[in-house]
């Protein structure tokens, strides 16, 4: 029992990272119908930047993360304006190619600026809390809390603010949104700013829990899309549920079946869910 609980706790922290990545992907997909493959690499850029500021220039971690988040927002806006907007009305394959090209560019930039060696963001959070044999490391607790706070903030933003409602409206029906007087040219900029900031947060989490190295972002974006499909394309609650399900399933699979097949088992679960619910866990039929 302790073991199962521990595995679930292990999986929730990872799931939180998946959720943040998937949220960023799902709002972009919902609004623009773009599979934003470069998201993982841009997220890792945020992690690298945090490391660069905090570990190499001695800037306090909280400040470094804040700078990285703001930089991420600006970067998101630029990506929308310079990369995706020009192909907005073209055939979908154009946006697809732009996304792939952008991934290579950002990966290349990361390699150029930050090198090929793995980096680990030092946090100093090394305490371990233990309740009845189940342990929760301080850092993982922070990751879970931060992810929960961001998910809550995102939900409140989308459900309760005017801009958030406008984003949902554009996602659900673009023409009708125009008739409501929503400036549909502005919304993608806001969406990319939020999406990239969430990605940067995920990048910082990956960089402090684990490590950032070339290729990590691409691996993460694949997981992010798996979560999207699992939870239902474009669905925010779907991204939350899908991310946690994927994280916990991976941990349980690694713990009780075999760690060698961790990734495979996660995808088997995804396919199984799709066979039973083709629209995903929270998607609309």
């Amino acid at each position: 029992m302790t073991e199962i609980l521990q595995q679930i706790i292990n999986g929730i922290a990872i799931g939180g990272v998946y959720v943040l990545i998937a949220l960023g992907l799902t709002i972009v997909f919902g609004i623009l119908g773009i599979a934003h493959f470069a998201h993982g690499s841009v997220s890792m850029f945020g992690g690298y930047l945090t490391f660069f500021l905090a570990a190499q220039h001695g800037i306090p971690l909280a400040l470094a993360i804040t700078i990285a988040l703001i930089t991420g927002m600006v970067l998101g806006v630029l990506i929308e304006l310079l990369a995706y907007r020009p192909v907005r009305h073209a055939n979908h394959i154009n946006a697809f190619i732009v996304a792939l090209g952008l991934t290579m560019m950002v990966e290349g930039a990361n390699l150029q600026f930050f090198g090929a060696e793995q980096i680990v963001i030092p946090t100093g959070a090394t305490r371990v809390f233990s309740i009845g044999g189940v342990t929760l490391p301080e850092l993982r607790l922070y990751v879970i809390l931060a992810a929960a706070a961001l998910i809550a903030a995102m939900t409140i933003f989308v459900e309760k603010t005017k801009t958030g409602q406008a984003i949902r409206a554009v996602a659900e029906n673009r023409d009708a949104a125009i008739l409501m007087g929503i400036n549909v040219q502005m919304i993608p900029l806001v969406v990319f700013a939020i999406s990239t900031a969430l990605g940067v947060a995920a990048g910082v989490m990956v960089g402090s829990l684990f490590a950032i190295a070339p290729g990590v972002g691409e691996g993460l974006v694949v997981k992010g899309f798996a979560v999207l499909i699992l939870g239902g394309l474009g669905s925010i609650p779907g991204a939350v549920v899908g991310g946690i399900v994927l994280g916990v399933t991976e941990a349980l699979a690694a713990g009780f079946i075999s760690s060698a097949y961790k990734d495979v088992i996660a995808f088997v679960v995804m396919i199984a869910v799709l066979l039973l619910r083709p629209q995903g866990l929270m998607g609309r039929a």
């Binding site: 990872i14 371990v128 713990g255 760690s259």
Partner: protein, 402 residues
């Protein structure tokens, strides 16, 4: 008359020309190693150390063969520890650059690919850090290796851990990589001789950074000790995450990682008490004068401390120099290969080799070093004692696999 004198003149000029060149020839040697990618932590310092050794050999007067002196010129190619890239690199060295002596080789996958065809080439291959046993069990007379196979060390580690009084040990490692698997296999065999049992074989891949699920599973089995076997990065995360799961059992490992490499991932508190059971390699606390000089020169030249395994390649270059001089030829690779097998341990060697039948390399072309038990104490690897290793017995066993 006129014609004849011209001919004489040109013959004389030709003789003179070659004569003056003969005083100082160039011998090109090649290095194929991982300069980029995940294995660069092993490969790049090896390539550096070959260049450093070559400069030292040249400064000390080069390689003397008969009346001629050869200065070494090192050509380095990046093989990214990838078999295909390594094959391309070695083909380029042999076919295009005309190289006959190839050094480096940090990693087993790439090295195995080269070993599969080097027997047909007019060349000599000197393997460094690659630990896969089968590299020296194929009867390749033109191949030698400075690093002992992983299972030679694994057996010594098994005996050591048994001596600490543990009975049930859980293994977590890169068991899909065959030389790590062979370390564990030999460990298990030796450990079982004292009634010990390995109760778990959990696996991680070289890119994995989250070993919590495997460690949680191990924790539930309540073992006496943990053995972590694999590349530094995942191993460092395994040590860190074992403390995050509140596991306070003794932790042993086989990683050969440096202090800096571990501290990038884990804090010194999280590493406290961890054992590394590995070839002694370059350990400042226990090294010879040659080792201290190597460390100092490397640090001065490259600005970084040398990795503990990098002298495997440094020693290759010096072994090659002595073998060529003993063979009396730079062109006769067969003679040079034979001379390598006949070589006694030389004073420039940085690693602490244990001779077999008085020689540095055994009949398989395999060298043996001492194995050591190192423990992380207050932020440093501390050499505690030598592991109980038996090179003569292992050499016999290795020959039996041919």
């Amino acid at each position: 008359m006129m014609g004849k004198s011209l001919l004489t003149c040109s013959v004389a000029a030709l003789l003179l020309g070659t004569g003056s060149l003969a005083a100082q020839e160039t011998l090109k040697i090649g290095v194929a190693d991982a300069l980029t990618g995940g294995a660069a932590v092993y490969g790049l310092p090896q390539a550096n150390s070959v260049e450093m050794a070559a400069d030292e050999i040249n400064a000390a007067g080069g390689i003397s063969v008969g009346d001629e002196t050869y200065m070494l010129d090192v050509i380095v190619y990046d093989d990214k520890a990838n078999p295909t890239e390594a094959t391309n690199a070695v083909r380029k060295l042999i076919d295009r650059d005309g190289v006959k002596y190839i050094l480096g080789f940090c990693c087993s996958g790439a090295t195995g690919a080269i070993a599969s065809f080097i027997g047909y080439e007019d060349a000599v291959m000197l393997v460094g850090n690659a630990a896969e046993r089968s590299i020296t069990t194929q009867g390749l007379t033109n191949l030698v290796r400075t690093r002992p196979p992983a299972d030679y060390t694994g057996a010594a580690a098994g005996a050591f851990v048994a001596r600490q009084g543990h009975k049930r040990v859980a293994v977590l490692g890169a068991l899909e990589t065959s030389f790590y698997a062979s370390y564990v296999e030999a460990f298990e065999e030796e450990f079982a001789k004292s009634g010990g049992e390995v109760i778990a074989h959990e696996v991680f891949a070289s890119k994995d950074r989250d070993m919590s699920p495997q460690l949680t599973k191990i924790r539930a089995m309540d073992p006496d000790a943990l053995l972590v076997v694999g590349y530094v990065e995942p191993a460092a995360f395994a040590y860190r995450q074992s403390t995050e799961l509140g596991m306070d059992i003794p932790r042993y490992g086989f990683t050969s990682g440096s202090e800096e490499q571990f501290l990038r991932v884990a804090t010194t508190e999280q590493m406290e008490g961890v054992w590394d059971l590995r070839p002694t390699e370059l350990t400042l606390q226990s090294t010879t004068d040659a080792g201290l000089a190597y460390h100092e020169h490397y640090l001065e030249r490259f600005g970084d401390a040398p990795s503990p395994s990098s002298p495997y390649a440094y020693d290759q270059a010096w072994a090659l120099k002595h073998a060529i001089e003993a063979a009396g030829s730079v062109d006769d690779t067969e003679a040079v290969a034979a001379a390598l097998r006949d070589l006694k341990i030389f004073p420039e060697a940085v690693m602490q080799y244990r001779p077999v039948n008085g020689k540095m390399f055994d009949d398989n072309g395999q060298a043996y070093t001492a194995n050591g038990a190192f423990q992380w104490q207050d932020g440093h690897w501390v050499f505690v004692e030598e592991l109980p290793s038996d090179p003569e017995a292992y050499s016999e066993f290795l020959s039996s696999l041919n």
